[in-house]
Structures are given as structure tokens and as C-alpha cells.
């Protein structure tokens, strides 16, 4: 009964999505009040029914209802409850339901928080969200129904892929999807603004917080995924340039560009057409990512067994959404004014180069990701593009951009002076160069790449600090109280500093782990000792243990530094009988300066094992950097300006209305 209620709710949600997406737009066009007023209630009804469907499916997982095909294929009665509930997004059908649910959450948030926007704009905005939802609900209902029954019911489920039975499974997919789908709001804002002919400062100010929230989620989602791959896959990598990773990284790059270009539009009324185009691009790349991951064209842990009909459906949807949006853009964009002029050296041109760099990076990733797929589709043979391509090109493109990151925030709007910026940044330059030589020297080996990496990382952080000092000095003419001055600076500024420092920390982490990591595969007998510098890893044997739905060989390693014991590591090799698969569970001693990482390979004769030992300096900085970026985004969101702007706009709209009526 419960699954049928779920399915019925999905169909109702689909109907409400049509109401939400179509009628209010007609209403605005014909200036028909009652039709326009349908938007908000329809959106809320849609949310309600999607929520019911979501709860119904998760209830089926909770109750181990193996008469539902999807539950039977992705769960098992021996699985811990948290994983059973998270198994909802462990396969294709459920993860599409998650997509739709996230879209519903964003839509309901939009209906709650944009009350103050002018009416036609608000109605169009909600309607566009409805249009996006129609396509995805149709996809779920017609090609990927998660509520399909299995008759007769299975005695027990086929279990979730053991790779996915991990706490990461509970967080990574929802957070990542929240970010992915969040760009639909920026997209809807752009489309509504094009329809409304309202591409101005207020539009940018309304869009900014939404874009930032989506970006924060996407940043965290990607970071969680990377961390998960690091400890779960057992070979210590944190980024593989896998097509699925790229699929989430491209919207992030374009979303980052969008955040910066929105800043220019808000402050200077410039870059308007460009900003709209970026909003469309960011969401299009989110959709492309969904297509790549869900159509089965890729070999990856994320690609579920699929049928070609689904891929075709998403492809058509992709063409309709992106094509439609670009068509509208082509018609409406020429009527948008150019905005204010700016000099070659100015904040605007700095931000423009930021955008060019980020888009070039996204473009090179797109090339490397799509080219093999295109070649395969054209029957020109199977090709793959190796990580060296991505590493080389990405670093080469980003390095100049990161250098400019230090200059940009110090440049004045409209016209800046390079010598002046140079004087201000002299100290930062000295600190960065000295660290670039000193840090690699302390780590034991100086190479060009590590020197450049450390330089850029320190440069980004130190220029941010100098920017802060400058800003405080500027205020000192008004007051001499340091604390008061610091409080007087808007949170958005601190947010930017924190996010930029996060980039710096991230670069340092990447540089140092790439430059100084140590890895070794070796055969170890009981009581064998492997040494890495002053560290020694003693293998004390492996024993059998029993888990809830697996059996495991658990090894014990005593790790000592110069004879002093640091920690015991217990890597495992698990066997999941339901799927008949083996799983490596590495054990990691994480630290600020280095991670010690041990994983078991295979059992050899006489209790010996093949063992993998890694020492990864500063690897945690990679994720710490991502978390700083996200925190910076959150801090920027607390800026009062956005709330005040909404109220002011509402007042103006109301005044205009009254003047019109009078």
C-alpha cells in the first residue's frame, strides 16, 4: 500500500508541477490575476507530494519491504538502519527522486523568501522552477519508477554496493545534489529576468545569496566526495579526474565565476549579459553532469546499470532546457545596456580575467571529459584522457589566475593604479617568495612545482591579510578603536577573505601532498617492520572478525616515530557475502602535518599479507581549505545588505504601484 501511495503522490506532484510551470506564465502574459496566483500554492502542493513520495520510499527501506524492486536491489535486512535509509539514493531511481526532492526544497525556499520581489518577476521565477521540475518528474515517473513492485517478493535484498556502505553515503549525495540543483535557482532568476526585462543591480542583488548558498553546498559536496574516495577506495587518492568528478567540478568552476561576475553586476551595473549567460551555463553543466552520471555512458562507481532510453530522455531534456534558454537569451540579450565603462587596470578587469581563467579551466576539463564520449558515440574508437592532461592544463591555466587573486581585491573599481597595488603588496610578495624557497627546503627537496605551489598558496593568504589591514586602516580616520573598526566592516568582506584563504590552504595542501607523499606496496610477514624515514610500521598479524553483514580480516600495525609508539592502525579486508564482494577498509592516522595510511592487499602464505603504506603530508589541508571556502560563503550570506535590499525593492515596487493606481 505504502509504495502505491508514494507513486500516486509522485503523479500528483507531476500534475502540480505542470500547473506551477505553465499557467502562471500564461497569467503574467495575459495579465490574468487568478492564473498568476496559482504559482505559489501549486509549488507548495508539489513540495508536499514529493515529500510524501520520498517518505514512502524511505519507509519501504525502513520496513525492509522487498516486494519493492528498488528496495530489493539496493538493501538488505542485515544492513544497519542508517545505511538502509541512505540506500534510498544508492541506485538510479532513488537518486533521481533525491534530485527532484532537492529541487522541491529549493522551490519551497524560493516561495518563502522572495515574497518582497515585484509580482510579475516573482511569479515568473517560481514558474520557471516548475518547468524544470516537470521534466525531471516525468523522467522519474516514466523511465525510472522507484516504486515498481517485485512479484513475488524477494526473501531478502541484494544488498547495497559495499563501497557505498559508509557514513559518507549519508552526507555526500544529498549535499552535492543540493548544490547541483541549487544552480537551478540562479538559472530561474536569469530566465525570469530575461522575460521580465529586468537585468539590473537589484536583480543581481537578489540572485547573489541564492547562488552563494548553492555554491557552498556544491563545495562541501565535492569535498565530502573527495574525502570519502580518499579513505574508502584504499589507494589514497583524493581526486582522479574521473568523468563523474569532472561532472561536478565544472558547475563548481562556472558557479565560482558566476559569484564573481554577479559582484560586478551588483556593484557596477556591468557584465549583465555575461552574468545571465553564466547563470545559464552553470545550470546547464549541472544537467550535463546528471546526464553523464545517469545515462550509463561512463565507467564509474557512480554509474548504475542503465538502459539507453533513460540517457536519451535526459539528452532530449538537456537540449530543450539549454536550447530554450539560449534562444531566449539570443532574443532578449541585445536589448540589455552595456553598463559602466572601466579602465584596463581596474577591479572590473581583474574580475573579468578571473572569469576568463575559470571558464578556460572549465572548458579544458569539458574537453577532456567529453572528447572520449564523442569519439565513442561517433564510432571512432575507444579512447581515454589520462590524468596528466588534466593536471598539466589545469595547473597551467589556474596559476596566473591565482596570482591575480592577490591583486584583484586591492584594485579600485573603474580605474586602479598598478604601482600603488604593487607598493601595498610588497610585503606579501617578500613573504611568499621566502616561503616558496624555505618550505620545500624544510620538507627536504626543492622542485619548481612545489616552489610555485607554495608561492601561490602563501601569496593568496598573505595578500588577503594585507587587504584586511588596509581596510581597517581606511576606517581609522573615523575611529581609533580597532575592535569597532573591525566590526564596522561588512561580513561579506570577511566572507571573501575567508574563502580566498581557503583557496590558499587548499593549494598548500595539494602542493605538499603531491610533492612529498610517500607510497609503498610491499609484502609483510607477521612482525615485519617497514620504515619510512623515522617512522616504522610493524605488522602484528591479522585476525578474523565478524561485522553485521560482512566478515573481515583485520590487521594490526604498530606505528612508531623514532622508537616511540604513535598509534595502532587496524586496516580491514572485508567480505560481503550477499554480493560476494571484497572491500578494502584502510585505516588512517590523520594529523595536521601528515596522515599515516595503511591498507591491506591480499593474504599471502603463512599469515603474510601484501600491504600498502602511505605517508601523506598536509593532505588534510585540502579539505580544510574547502571547508574554509564554504564558511566564507556562509559568512557572506549573513550580510545585512541582502535583506535590506529586498525590503527596499518591495517598497519601491509598492510606491510605483500606488503611483500607477493614483
Amino acid at each position: 500500500m505504502i509504495p502505491e501511495i508514494g507513486q500516486f503522490s509522485l503523479i500528483l506532484a507531476f500534475c502540480f508541477a505542470i500547473v506551477q510551470g505553465v499557467f502562471p506564465l500564461i497569467g503574467v502574459w495575459k495579465n490574468h490575476g487568478p492564473l498568476m496566483n496559482l504559482a505559489v500554492p501549486a509549488a507548495r502542493a508539489q513540495f508536499l507530494f514529493i515529500a510524501i513520495a520520498f517518505v514512502c520510499l524511505d519507509y519501504s527501506f525502513y520496513a525492509n519491504d522487498f516486494s519493492v524492486l528498488y528496495v530489493a536491489s539496493n538493501s538488505n535486512s542485515h544492513m544497519p538502519l542508517a545505511y538502509r535509509l541512505a540506500a534510498l539514493w544508492g541506485g538510479h531511481e532513488g537518486s533521481m527522486l533525491l534530485w527532484v526532492s532537492m529541487l522541491a526544497v529549493w522551490t519551497i525556499a524560493v516561495t518563502l523568501f522572495v515574497k518582497d520581489l515585484p509580482e510579475t518577476f516573482r511569479i515568473r521565477l517560481i514558474s520557471v522552477m516548475g518547468l524544470v521540475s516537470i521534466g525531471f518528474l516525468a523522467f522519474v515517473i516514466f523511465t525510472s519508477n522507484p516504486f515498481e513492485r517485485l512479484i513475488p517478493a524477494a526473501l531478502d535484498g541484494r544488498d547495497l554496493n559495499p563501497l557505498l556502505q559508509d557514513p559518507g553515503m549519508v552526507f555526500h549525495p544529498p549535499v552535492l545534489y543540493m548544490g547541483y540543483v541549487g544552480f537551478s535557482v540562479a538559472f530561474a532568476f536569469a530566465i525570469a529576468a530575461l522575460l521580465d526585462g529586468r537585468l539590473d543591480i537589484t536583480w543581481a542583488r537578489w540572485t547573489r545569496p541564492w547562488t552563494t548558498v548553492a555554491w557552498v553546498f556544491l563545495t562541501l559536496g565535492i569535498a565530502f566526495g573527495s574525502k570519502w574516495a580518499y579513505y574508502e577506495l584504499g589507494w589514497g587518492g583524493w581526486w582522479f579526474w574521473d568523468a563523474v568528478e569532472n561532472a561536478s567540478f565544472m558547475p563548481w568552476l562556472v558557479g565560482t565565476a558566476l559569484i564573481h561576475s554577479l559582484a560586478v553586476t551588483e556593484k557596477r551595473d556591468a557584465f549583465k549579459v555575461w552574468t545571465v549567460l553564466l547563470s545559464i551555463c552553470a545550470f546547464s553543466l549541472s544537467l550535463l553532469g546528471t546526464f553523464l552520471v545517469r545515462s550509463g555512458v561512463l565507467t564509474s562507481v557512480h554509474a548504475f546499470a542503465t538502459d539507453p532510453g533513460r540517457g536519451l530522455f535526459i539528452l532530449i531534456y538537456l537540449v530543450v532546457v539549454i536550447g530554450g534558454a539560449l534562444l531566449l537569451f539570443a532574443f532578449k540579450a541585445p536589448s540589455v545596456g552595456l553598463g559602466e565603462k572601466f579602465d584596463v587596470v581596474s577591479r572590473e578587469s581583474m574580475l573579468l580575467s578571473n572569469n576568463v581563467v575559470l571558464l578556460a579551466a572549465a572548458g579544458s576539463v569539458l574537453l577532456g571529459t567529453m572528447y572520449p564520449l564523442l569519439m565513442d558515440a561517433l564510432g571512432a574508437g575507444k579512447i581515454s584522457v589520462g590524468p596528466p592532461y588534466f593536471n598539466a592544463v589545469f595547473v597551467a591555466i589556474m596559476a596566473p589566475g591565482l596570482f591575480l587573486m592577490g591583486l584583484g581585491p586591492l584594485a579600485k573599481w573603474k580605474k586602479a593604479s598598478l604601482p600603488e597595488i604593487g607598493t601595498r603588496l610588497r610585503v606579501a610578495a617578500i613573504i611568499s617568495v621566502v616561503s616558496a624557497l624555505l618550505v620545500p627546503f624544510m620538507m627536504g627537496k626543492l622542485t619548481l612545482m612545489t616552489a610555485i605551489g607554495v608561492f601561490l598558496g602563501i601569496w593568496v593568504v598573505s595578500t588577503s591579510l594585507i587587504l584586511l589591514i588596509n581596510r581597517i586602516k581606511l576606517r581609522q580616520s573615523a575611529s581609533t578603536n580597532l575592535l569597532e573598526n573591525m566590526q564596522g566592516i561588512p561580513p561579506a568582506f570577511y566572507g571573501m577573505l575567508l574563502a580566498h584563504c581557503g583557496i590558499g590552504v587548499f593549494i598548500l595542501g595539494v602542493t605538499l601532498v603531491k610533492g612529498y607523499e610517500f607510497e609503498q606496496d610491499l609484502r609483510m610477514e607477521v612482525n615485519d617492520v617497514a620504515t619510512v624515514g623515522a617512522l616504522s610500521f610493524k605488522f602484528e598479524g591479522a585476525q578474523e572478525i565478524q561485522g553485521p553483514n560482512y566478515t573481515s580480516s583485520q590487521g594490526t600495525f604498530k606505528v612508531s616515530n623514532a622508537g616511540k609508539e604513535i598509534t595502532l592502525l587496524h586496516p580491514e579486508k572485508r567480505f560481503y557475502p550477499v554480493q560476494g564482494s571484497m572491500m578494502t577498509e584502510a585505516d588512517i592516522h590523520a594529523g595536521v602535518f601528515k596522515d599515516l595510511y595503511v591498507s591491506l592487499g591480499e593474504p599471502l602464505e603463512n599469515g603474510a599479507w601484501s600491504v600498502r603504506i602511505y605517508v601523506k603530508p598536509f593532505v588534510q589541508w585540502i579539505w580544510a581549505g574547502a571547508i574554509l571556502m564554504a564558511l566564507g560563503g556562509i559568512l557572506a550570506l549573513t550580510d545585512k545588505r541582502y535583506r535590506i535590499a529586498n525590503k527596499r525593492a518591495a517598497k519601491q515596487a509598492q510606491a510605483a504601484q500606488e503611483a500607477f493606481e493614483a
Partner: protein, 149 residues
């Protein structure tokens, strides 16, 4: 310098940078393309003699051998028509199994041994890497053709 000259200069610099970037990207792209070959194609000498490429197929049952150092392994990859011997040093992925699909990246040695630098296996029970599936399909199609002749 007039504003117009300045703008021309800027555009010229921008274009030059763009060209340099495009050249670098395409160069790096070309040198990092990894092509895929089936064991039959390798047998026929279509694969590069030097340089990396990928092969795919099924791990032949009973072919997995561990060399005496405990770290080097050898196994045979087949597309059901032809077989080739692969050697790999290191720890095989969890989902590597005899009789199941596999993709390996590496080089051919002078003796015709495929020295793999990376071994990729499928990610769950019912899933076959598309490359491995394609290799077997191709071999089957070739066999069917010969049957007709």
C-alpha cells in the same frame, strides 16, 4: 597613448595569450590520449609498440598467478578469441576476479608481455566495463563473420 591604441594593444595581447593557451592545451591533450585495443587487435599488431594503451576483456579462469615476491601478479586477458598475458606489480582492486571483466593500462614489453601500470575492474556484480564488453562483442562479431565464410 590614446585609449583606442590601448584597447588595440589589450586585444592583441589577449589574442596572443589565447593562441598560446590553445596550442598548449591541444599539445598536452594529444600526448595524453590513451587508446583502447582488444587482445585480437594487439595480436594483429595494431597496438602501439611503445607508449601506453588500454586493453580489456575477461580475466581467464585459472590464469591468475602470484610471482614469488608476493607483489607481482600475472594473469591472462581474453576477448574469447585471443588471449594475452598481463603482468602487474601491486595490489589488485577489490573487484578483480577470474572470469570477470577487466581493463588494464600499460605497455607492451619486447617479449609481448603486457606490463600494466593500472588495473581497473568493474564496480559491482552485474556491471561490466564498457571497454571489456566491447572487446568481447567485437570478437564475437568477428567469429560470426568467419562462420559465414
Amino acid at each position: 597613448m590614446k585609449a583606442r591604441h590601448k584597447r588595440f594593444g589589450l586585444i592583441a595581447v589577449g589574442l596572443i595569450l589565447l593562441v598560446i593557451a590553445a596550442v598548449l592545451i591541444t599539445n598536452s591533450f594529444r600526448s595524453n590520449l590513451v587508446f583502447f585495443f582488444t587482445p585480437t587487435q594487439v595480436e594483429q599488431g595494431e597496438a602501439p609498440k611503445s607508449g601506453s594503451f588500454r586493453i580489456g576483456g575477461l580475466v581467464e579462469s585459472g590464469s591468475l598467478k602470484r610471482l614469488s615476491d608476493g607483489l607481482h601478479v600475472q594473469f591472462k586477458v581474453t576477448d574469447t578469441a585471443k588471449t594475452m598475458l598481463v603482468e602487474y606489480k601491486g595490489i589488485l582492486p577489490d573487484l578483480f576476479k577470474e572470469g570477470k571483466g577487466v581493463v588494464a593500462e600499460g605497455k607492451l614489453s619486447a617479449s609481448g608481455l603486457f606490463e600494466a601500470s593500472q588495473v581497473l575492474a568493474k564496480h559491482d556484480e552485474n556491471y561490466m566495463p564498457p571497454e571489456a564488453a566491447a572487446a568481447i562483442e567485437a570478437a564475437k562479431a568477428a567469429k560470426a563473420k568467419e562462420g559465414v565464410k
